[in-house]
């Protein structure tokens, strides 16, 4: 089941939303509606789902409605129409009590300017959510300490927020959100106020943290690089509408329209495109039981200097080179077993091109792409990367 499901959400800012909604549902644009009713359309008929454990990034420039959308998820802002389902429950119909309970149980939120409580020290900030739930002091302090440890801030419990740097303050913000053990983490431009180096660090730390805690994360940003870097999927928004939804690779390789294309032009593609996008299935494979002379003949025919060897269950055995095969034939080997070079570099399908480039700088042969069970998925050779970067560049 979808963790979060949004169907047909719209938000009108103004005194008579019904009127504006009517026009919106007739298909009028944001500007026409503003001219006719003087009311602003914040969100226009947005629908998408977020899967459990996914990092869904909502990306858009200021005024695109992304923050409004985020606040509709826990009803800090009430949508004017549409439904929001959390774990299959339509939260737009909840009364105030149930809404508070929902926010306490399911959500943690991280803010752009940290929103730490200036009169409370770090520990008391982190325990706030638990305190609100009415947890006993000892228990909630213990949990808050664990949460601080998770973000690498042990020993700072007694400091006040203003004594911490921006990056550290946002870690506290993250710890505060994680302390309540929420299913869903809402992050509103969480790293935008940090300087670029710290921001990069925080992004990778978030990804590492996500490996351990496996939350469903909705992350708002105006930075496409950030979106593509951390997003499992990305929702691109403009003027309160969704322009494109897809994986970072989809967005890079198949931009939905000129608006997205303009964004994508400035993105460092080698960080976003992965081995998956450039790998191919080898024309020729060998198995350890093959006869060296036969393999060598096939290689000569295909004009290859090396070959990937896979076992019967498709797992990677290694690589054989032309030179070692010649030696094997001279030795009189009946199989490839003694000629296989088993210590070869491998990558997963998720490896970005940047990583591939640095490996291929020192590895002259084709690079096997494997999955978790070491099954061969394909190979990457140097030329493919260059042609991939060149090709997508003039899309």
């Amino acid at each position: 089941m979808d963790k979060i499901k949004i169907t047909n959400i719209s938000k009108i800012f103004g005194p008579q939303p019904a009127l504006a909604l009517q026009l919106l549902n007739q298909g009028l644009g944001k500007e026409e509606i503003f001219n006719q009713t003087g009311q602003a359309v914040g969100l226009a008929n947005i629908s998408f789902e977020v899967q459990e454990g996914e990092i869904m990034v909502v990306m858009g420039l200021s005024g695109s409605g992304k923050s409004t959308l985020l606040r509709c998820l826990n009803r800090l802002i009430d949508p004017s129409q549409g439904q929001v389902f959390i774990d299959g429950v339509d939260i737009t119909t909840l009364d105030h009590e149930a809404l508070l309970a929902l926010r306490r149980q399911k959500f943690g939120m991280v803010f752009q300017h940290f929103a730490l409580f200036p009169h409370r020290n770090i520990l008391h900030n982190v325990e706030y959510g638990l305190e609100i739930q009415g947890m006993e002091v000892d228990k909630r302090r213990e949990k808050a300490r664990q949460s601080l440890k998770l973000v690498g801030l042990e020993g700072w419990e007694d400091a006040m927020p203003r004594q911490l740097s921006g990056g550290m303050q946002q870690r506290v913000g993250l710890a505060r959100a994680l302390a309540v053990e929420p299913d869903i983490l809402l992050m509103d431009e969480a790293f935008s106020a940090l300087d670029p180096l710290i921001r990069g660090d925080m992004q990778s730390e978030l990804l590492q943290l996500q490996e351990r805690v496996r939350k469903t994360i909705v992350f708002i940003t105006h930075d496409l690089d950030e979106a593509l870097n951390i997003g499992s999927r990305v929702v691109l928004m403009k003027d309160g509408k969704v322009v494109q939804i897809g994986t970072p690779e989809d967005i890079i390789s198949q931009p939905a329209d000129d608006y997205v294309k303009r964004f994508v032009e400035n993105v460092d593609k080698s960080r976003v495109l992965t081995a998956h996008a450039v790998m191919v299935w080898p024309r020729l494979l060998a198995s350890p039981q093959d006869e060296p002379a036969q393999v060598l003949a096939n290689m000569a025919e295909e004009n290859l200097s090396s070959l990937v060897v896979v076992n019967a269950d498709q797992t990677l055995a290694g690589i054989v080179r032309m030179e070692t095969l010649t030696q094997a034939i001279e030795r009189g080997d009946k199989t490839l077993e003694n000629s296989i070079e088993r210590e070869v570099p491998t990558v997963t399908a998720k490896e970005p091109l940047k990583g591939l480039i640095s490996i291929l700088a020192t590895w002259p042969l084709s690079l096997p792409v494997i999955d978790k069970q070491r099954k061969l998925l394909g190979i990457v050779v140097k030329g493919m990367i260059l042609s991939a970067l060149a090709k997508r560049g003039n899309h």
Binding site: L76, L99, R103, R104, F107, H113, A115, Y128, I132, Q133
Partner: protein, 336 residues
Amino acid sequence: MEELSISELPLGNLLSLPLWETVIIFALLVLLSWWAAGRLVAAVTAIGLGVMWMLRFQTFEIEKVPLDEWVEDSLNFLTDHFAFVTKGISKLTDVGIDYVIDGLMYFPPWLVILVFTFLAWRLAGRNVAFLTAVGLVFLWNLHLWKPTMETLTLVLFATFISVSIGVPLGVMAAISNTFYRIVMPILDFMQTMPAFVYLIPAIPFFGLGAVSAIFATVVFAVPPSIRFTCLGIKQVPAELIEAADAFGSTQTQKLLKLQLPLAVPTMMAGVNQTIMLALSMVVIAAMIGAGGLGGEVWKAIQRLKSGMGFEAGLAIVILAMILDRITQKIAKGHKV
């Protein structure tokens, strides 16, 4: 009853001008109000001027609105039916005040000065402690110890009551917009009305003496408590409120855990204002027998003794400085 003719009003001269001049001047007035305040006001001006033009030689009588009678009637009604309650409160409070004053006077002044100096040192640091010690010793030396203690007690009572009333009202004004819009004009009214006026109705309700003085003082000194509490709560950044909401805080939790703690510095500034206003009422309250330093000033006025008046006045200044510095330091100490 007075007889009035519009031609006797300042505009009268204007209205008896020849027609064409009047028309030009009226047109200019209407244009001016249009330019300054818009179409609606211009229309009202035009109609008003027209009516005055038509009535220009009429004479008619304007009866005085008997506002004074209404106020007195309703006050009399309240006195007749409720004075026994307020008199009771008054008696009790009087006893309380007397106990505090007697208590303060029971100890030798040097001990009280030591205690106050210590308090000032703990609350506001060395400099203020020094000021407190020197100031109080000087007052003792001037033989103004008893009236100083009386005044201090009155001020503290009035401040305590003002804050107890002001903080809840301030919180309500911060939370409810409707309440805010009702309360703020009333506060303006309370603060603008000359403080003397409150003394008159205070007497039938509370009798002559300290309690009437405290009542009038509270009416005069409560507005800053309300205003500053409201301001302090409204100043809490929206992002923090949102964070508290996102964690599922109830209204009460938000108030107690976030808004009130963050409003404390501003509220302390309000307390400071309240104390200062209360002190400024002390002399006025002396006219209805509140005693204290104000009483000394009042005596000096009646006997035309400028030296005595100066001493008592200086004592009020010293007391004000001590209270001001201590509360200010507390407010700053809470800054976050």
